[in-house]
């Protein structure tokens, strides 16, 4: 039987608004991980961020590029306590699509992330870094940068895929 190269690991579909979701006990079986999400932002700060392995230290950073339909811009943030996927506010009630690629997530180097986001207001992409040599075994996707005001809206869908290189 052929080895499965691209495999759905887990899916979460929200029945109600929630502050965050977590994928835990992620095996080190694959080479890369891809998180694809269709998120309906709700709450007063509908922006989203990731944490790995529960790390709340200042071990995250990113460089992004974004287009609004009238201009393009690029920003950078360092020494964050989360990997911020945004930089811009999402319109509530309208799905935002996220395509988050975690390269060599189980390897012994720092973890590089390439992420794209699309919604009705912006197209964005970012290069992120988690400065840890530990394998990623947990991914937390949170509204409002792990504060209390934002929500992942009911109907949001999150799917984790594993990609295996032979």
């Amino acid at each position: 039987m052929a080895t499965v190269t691209y495999e759905a690991i887990a899916t979460q579909t929200l029945g109600s608004d929630t502050a965050s979701i977590t994928f835990s006990s992620i095996a080190s079986t694959w080479t890369d991980i891809r998180l694809i999400a269709a998120v309906i932002p709700q709450g007063s700060d509908p922006t989203f961020a990731l944490r790995f392995n529960g790390d709340t230290g200042s071990n995250y950073s990113y460089t992004d590029i974004r287009g609004s339909g009238s201009s393009a811009s690029s920003t950078r943030n360092s020494n964050l306590t989360y990997l911020y996927l945004e930089g811009v506010t999402n319109p509530t009630g309208t799905p935002s699509l996220y395509d988050v690629n975690l390269f060599g997530y189980a390897g012994s180097t720092y973890k590089t992330i390439l992420s794209r986001k699309n919604n009705e207001n912006y197209v964005t992409a970012l290069a992120g870094l988690w400065r840890s040599t530990s394998a990623i075994n947990e991914i937390q996707f949170s509204a409002d940068r792990f504060n209390a005001a934002g929500r992942l809206g009911a109907g949001s869908v999150f799917t984790l895929y594993g990609i295996k290189a032979e």
Partner: protein
Amino acid sequence: MIANQVAGLLAGGVPPVIPGDYESIQTVTVGSGGASYIEFSSIANTYKHLQIRAIGRSSESGSNNSGTSIQFNSDTSTNYSWHVMYGNGSSTGSVGFANTNIIGIGEGTGAGAGANTFGAFVIDILDYANTNKYKTVRTLNGWENNGTGTLLFVSGAWRNTNAVSSIKITTGGSGFVQYSKFALYGIK
């Protein structure tokens, strides 16, 4: 299912990925001795598209980043062209190159970057075996170094109607360092 529809959309308009339609073809993991280049050879023409997923770091000294390039079928002539759009944390820009002997596919980190940091690449070679067309390449690439970094989109063309049967990837300095990893996948 929404997740499959989303996966299909975000894969660039191709149908949703089904296990078995996305296959690992070849993988190169750079060992302690480094690698002056990465090469995939004897690529079968049985897939519809190719994708390379990679992390790369070069030995190029004095630089946080290192340009990385691709060539096909040992063609070193000026049969390539490419455009790039980038954001570096403070500004955005775009630049194009015609009649070149490589396609620049983005940047890995260099020896000046923090230890353990690598650039990441997703490289798509679309309709690679079609002998009625030139070959189109697109790349999503970025590197991040906690204070420096760049995000790049690249579009390139190889003006040759032959099926892609080999791929060579090069970078600065004396090449790729340990733990760089390039994985070639075929999409049916």
